[in-house]
């Protein structure tokens, strides 16, 4: 029966008050934790998706929109670019690899992405079943698409124009699934991959003669080009050259992602500040609870002193009580943060958006307990000091 057990006995003796204080602390820690987890997870997710891509080239417009559509497929494209641009850039000695992407249609909310096999290797994709396409109108499904649509090798589907479900359906152009990829935790999971020829075929319709074929082939377009540099020097010259000398737009994923995070970061800061306010409220509530407890327990404290307890021991007991609440509130807050992140992850999965892992714990999260402990310690400071300096003799005499 030490001071910790004694402090715990007082917490157990008033379950409602304890629960409310724990909940308040948990809400504060949970809110801040939620922002940190989501912030980190979204950042990781974006980094995974953009890994290996040094530059995105597309139609003129908003560079952030180009990045969001070209890499993450979270926005509509800025426009299309001529197919010939890919060959021209591939011929540039500063460029190591050009991966074209072409999006126009979707299947149950997932983009149908026309690209080359390099796109699969960019994200280290491996096959759970089947293999790459060998001809047009064959498709390879990302893991999330396959899981969600329950399609497998040999199954057939048709795309609809645009991303919204219920759009015009290309009913006469049926894709056959020839491969299903293993999960990679990247954007690769969230797309159905096809050869660009398939995209063009679906939209060009039946070609009447060679002349029409020639005209249509000349008009073929990609949505964007994902570029890998051969040398770091390319970062200095290539984007500037493309933006200045062509009708194309070049955007750096690293720069635009950072810019996007700065914009979104304001919102995150507001939520984080809200968490801080909740935590401060929790500290105030804890202070009031301890302060009242001090009056209610004046005689108990006096009894403990007559039993030989030192003033510092009494102060420590109250401090322990607050720290126990902080520990409980902190742990519950972390659980709450991950729970909220799980809800968001589910919602994002429903929206075919970024993939976040809400249950990935990091040691850094334990730092979230620090503000909880600080708030509790601060709240307990004055009550502890008062308890330690209470006039025991007067308390006992008053009761008599």
């Amino acid at each position: 029966m030490n001071f910790a057990e004694l402090a715990w006995s007082y917490l157990r003796a008033r379950p409602l008050g304890t629960l409310l204080n724990v909940l308040l602390l948990a809400l504060g820690v949970g809110t801040i934790g939620f922002v940190l987890i989501v912030d980190g997870q979204v950042g990781d997710s974006l980094n995974r998706d953009a890994k290996g891509i040094d530059l995105v080239v597309g139609a003129k417009g908003s560079p952030i929109q180009l990045i969001l559509s070209g890499i993450f497929h979270l926005d509509v494209p800025t426009g299309n670019i001529p197919v010939g641009a890919a060959a021209e850039l591939a011929a540039n000695p500063l460029v190591k690899r050009v991966i074209p992407v072409s999006i126009a249609d979707s299947f149950r909310g997932y983009w149908i992405l026309g690209t080359t096999p390099d796109y699969v290797s960019l994200y280290d994709g491996t096959f759970a079943a089947g293999s790459l396409w060998h001809e047009k109108m064959q498709a390879v499904l990302g893991a999330a698409v396959a899981a969600r649509t329950q399609l497998g090798v040999g199954d057939r589907f048709v795309g609809s124009h645009g991303l919204a479900e219920g759009g015009p359906v290309h009913g006469d152009s049926v894709y056959t699934v020839v491969g299903v990829l293993n999960p990679t935790g990247t954007v690769l999971d969230r797309v159905a991959l096809v050869d660009p020829e398939s995209i063009w075929f679906v939209h060009e319709g039946a070609i009447r003669d060679a002349d029409e074929r020639k005209v249509l082939e000349a008009e073929r377009q990609f949505t964007a080009l994902l570029i890998q540099y051969r040398s770091p020097l390319a970062a200095v010259t290539l984007p500037r050259k493309i933006n200045a000398e062509t009708n194309l737009q070049a955007a750096s994923p690293a720069y635009e992602s950072a810019r996007l995070f700065r914009i979104v970061g304001v919102g995150a800061d507001v939520i984080r500040a809200f968490g801080g306010v909740v935590l401060a409220t929790a500290a105030l509530s804890l202070f009031i609870a301890l302060y009242h407890a001090l009056n209610e327990r004046a005689y108990d404290i006096a009894v403990l002193r007559t039993l030989g307890a030192r003033p510092s021991g009494i102060a420590w007991m109250l401090m322990l009580e607050a720290l126990m609440l902080a520990a409980l509130g902190g742990m519950l807050g972390l659980a709450l943060a991950h729970g909220m992140a799980a809800l968001l992850a589910r919602w994002m999965a429903d929206q075919q958006s970024l993939r976040i892992d809400p249950w990935a714990f990091t040691a850094g999260e334990l730092w979230l307990l620090v503000p909880a402990f600080l708030a509790a310690a601060l709240a307990a400071l004055l009550p502890s000091w008062r308890a330690a300096h209470a006039d025991i003799s007067a308390t006992l005499a008053r009761r008599n």
Partner: protein, 219 residues
């Protein structure tokens, strides 16, 4: 056991409220501290317990002069050598009867001795209520647990402050017998501050505090 010489006490900046020239309580003996309300009975007990420090004079308990001890050492000394029974036998409400005894052991840095605590409860006739919380105990059972708590560290001196006030004759007799028997059985001296004349039959020796103290206090 207790030796008091030229004791004076007054609250800071106030008049002297207690003036006691000499008092001795031998080991294993009993005495009452009596006098009118406000004469300083409780104050004297608090001085002997080391909860208050005298303005002048010296108090020696079990050969140790309290004034020579640091506040921390005085707390430790009180926990080890002095048992205190309060007027309403106040038990810590969030702890069971047994835990009330264990806390008295551990609060002074001793290892909890469950067997000793349980045996003390049994000696006081409340062994079967070891795991009961105070609000589940009758007043009589609470009194016994409180006395057991005062004795669990085998103190050489037990101080009791108005232990029988508000009790009817029958309960008064039970509590007085319990206190006297238990302290004698464990070889402890007993000093009881009281205005209850019914205790005189059981504890004949009295320290009568003079009314003068009250007059000075009022002055």
């Amino acid at each position: 056991m207790i030796t008091i010489e030229h004791l004076q006490f007054g609250y800071r900046g106030g008049p002297t409220v207690l003036d006691l020239d000499a008092f001795t309580l031998p080991a294993k003996s009993n005495a009452l501290v009596v006098g009118p309300s406000g004469c300083g009975k409780t104050t004297l007990l608090h001085l002997v317990a080391g909860l208050l420090s005298p303005t002048r004079g010296r108090i020696e308990v079990d050969g140790q002069e309290l004034g020579r001890l640091s506040p921390a050492a005085r707390d430790r000394f009180r926990g080890r050598h002095i048992g205190v029974v309060l007027q309403q036998f106040h038990l810590l409400p969030t702890l069971t009867a047994l835990q009330n005894l264990l806390v008295a052991q551990t609060i002074i840095g001793q290892v909890a001795d469950r067997a000793a605590a349980q045996s003390m409860l049994e000696a006081l006739g409340v062994g079967e209520f070891a795991s009961a919380y105070p609000h589940r105990l009758s007043i009589g059972q609470q009194q016994r647990v409180a006395i057991a708590r005062a004795l669990v560290n085998r103190p050489r001196l037990v101080l009791a402050d108005e232990p029988t006030s508000n009790l009817d004759d029958e309960a008064c007799a039970v509590v007085a017998d319990l206190l006297i028997d238990a302290t004698q059985h464990h070889g402890a001296a007993l000093l009881v501050a009281t205005h209850d004349s019914r205790l005189r039959a059981r504890i004949p020796r009295e320290l009568v505090l003079p009314r003068r103290a009250v007059v000075e206090a009022l002055a």
